[in-house]
């Protein structure tokens, strides 16, 4: 017959061990979850920094190309035009020769205009010099040269208010992307850009009266699609958020806000 003390002591030891196991499981699991979340935060931060660096490299490359186009090709073309003007003045006034030379001169003018346009699109100098409202207004006016869509721009707030250059550039690129999407896909007639700067709350709204789209279906498309991943990636860098309001045949309204606008300097 087993001693009752054996049973009671054994029972006590088993209960203590059971208590230890349960407490250990709770404590260890909590620590593991915290560690997992910490690693995920670090990964997200790393991805954000990677994206920021990638975008900075892209912008730097664009700047270099714009500089090369403007300094080298633009300068060469300008010199060519000057030389040609001088040559033109020395020609006999034969009608055919004059016509040909006029055509060449027109072509040179057009080439110089294209180079300047490409350079401007690569690096929006208006944005750097005059800020976001001026740059968006210029972009809207320039894009209105095509017959497909009428683009209007509205603004409220302090036009001298400047966001950090990185933030302004990201917002400008996002607006470019959204307007290009509207021009390509909306099949609408009007696009309106509304920008609000402090002292009001910052907000940028771009809306069109086109055919709208199914947001969930678009997200499933592989890149480039509507470039939504690119837009949202840029917003993550500047701590912004985006809201899409769209439906079939009801146009599209995209609202962009910046979190912690007061902390951005």
């Amino acid at each position: 017959m087993e001693s009752p003390y054996f049973i009671i002591i054994g029972t006590g030891i088993m209960l203590i061990m059971a208590l230890f196991v349960v407490l250990f499981v709770v404590y260890y699991q909590r620590k593991q979850i915290e560690q997992q979340m910490h690693v995920k935060d670090m990964e997200a931060e790393f991805q954000g920094k990677l994206l920021e660096v990638s975008m900075a490299s892209t912008e730097a490359e664009r700047r270099r190309i714009a500089q090369d186009l403007h300094d080298d090709i633009g300068a060469l073309l300008s010199v060519t035009k000057l030389t040609f003007n001088a040559l033109y003045g020395q020609l006999d006034s034969k009608q055919q020769t004059q016509q040909l030379t006029q055509q060449v001169r027109d072509t040179l003018d057009e080439t110089i205009s294209h180079v300047r346009r490409i350079s401007r699109e690569l690096v929006p100098t208006t944005l750097e010099r005059f800020g976001l409202p001026a740059a968006l207004q210029e972009f809207a006016a320039r894009s209105n040269n095509s017959d497909s869509l009428r683009i209007t721009f509205g603004f409220s707030g302090d036009e001298n208010y400047r966001l950090p250059s990185r933030t302004e550039l990201m917002l400008y690129r996002i607006a470019q992307e959204l307007i290009n999407n509207a021009m390509k896909h909306s099949a609408g007639q009007n696009v309106h850009i509304q920008l609000s700067l402090p002292p009001q709350t910052f907000g940028m709204v771009i809306e069109d009266d086109g055919q709208g789209f199914n947001l969930e279906n678009v997200r499933l498309l592989p890149s480039p699609g509507l470039g939504l991943d690119s837009i949202e990636g840029r917003l993550r860098v500047i701590n912004g958020k985006i809201n899409y309001q769209t439906a079939h045949q009801e146009g599209c309204r995209v609202s962009i806000e910046l979190k912690n606008i007061n902390d951005i300097r």
Binding site: G10, T11, L15, V21, V22, V25, V26, I33
Partner: protein, 218 residues
């Protein structure tokens, strides 16, 4: 006298999870949660039945023996569904088979309503196997890290309560012929079982509280 009061308290404590079940009333739940409900109701039926039979002076030990067998099968099925590894699922089924076979070794304790003996094999073997199943499940919880907050996870509370109960009673069951099957000392060990039953029922109540329904697609 205090052993009697403790035993009655243990019998009544099963009402805690029952009341919570009726208060929360979640029926669209996964199978694992339904198995936890089954254990609660099985315990309730056992306590009610043995109480009534006891009051009527009718032998009721065989009810406890059947409860142990059926309860072990349900617990085995519960961990079968909780385990993700195929081999562990197979092990859970194996424990059910072993428990059934062990119980049938002392079939007289199951099929003789006048028996006064608790099943010599079923309690200790099923208790050991259930402790092993619970420890394996805890290991799976730590490996997978799929549950963000264990304190609000129903199967964790059930497993913790079951671990305390089976760990605390394992030595009593291993020496069952000297403990529960010895009428002279039965009441002493019954007190340990009753105390641990109260703890188990409290953990069961918390487990039922944290049972979440599945989303039903319309």
């Amino acid at each position: 006298m205090w052993e009697f009061n403790l035993a009655r308290t243990a019998d009544i404590s099963i009402l805690l999870p029952i009341i919570i079940f009726f208060v929360r009333g979640r029926l669209h739940v996964p199978l694992t949660y339904k198995l936890i409900y089954s254990i609660v109701f099985l315990l309730f039926v056992r306590n009610i039945t043995t109480f009534i039979l006891g009051e009527l002076g009718i032998y009721n030990v065989y009810i406890y023996n059947w409860y142990n067998l059926i309860g072990s099968i349900i617990v085995g099925l519960l961990y079968y569904h909780l385990f993700e590894n195929q081999y562990l699922k197979g092990f859970a089924i194996l424990t059910i088979c072993i428990t059934v076979i062990a119980a049938l070794f002392d079939y007289e304790s199951l099929f003789n309503p006048a028996t006064t003996n608790f099943n010599r094999f079923s309690y200790n073997i099923s208790g050991c196997l259930e402790i092993i199943l619970i420890l394996i499940y805890f290991y799976q919880l730590l490996q997978g890290l799929l549950v963000p907050n264990l304190a609000k996870f129903s199967p964790f509370w059930f497993s913790a309560g079951a671990l305390f109960y089976f760990s605390g009673t394992i030595f009593s069951y291993i020496s069952i012929n000297s403990t529960f099957n010895d009428l002279d000392v039965r009441s002493q060990y019954w007190a340990i079982d009753a105390f641990l039953s109260i703890i188990f029922n409290v953990f069961l109540a918390i487990s039922v509280w944290y049972i979440k329904p599945v989303k039903v697609d319309n």
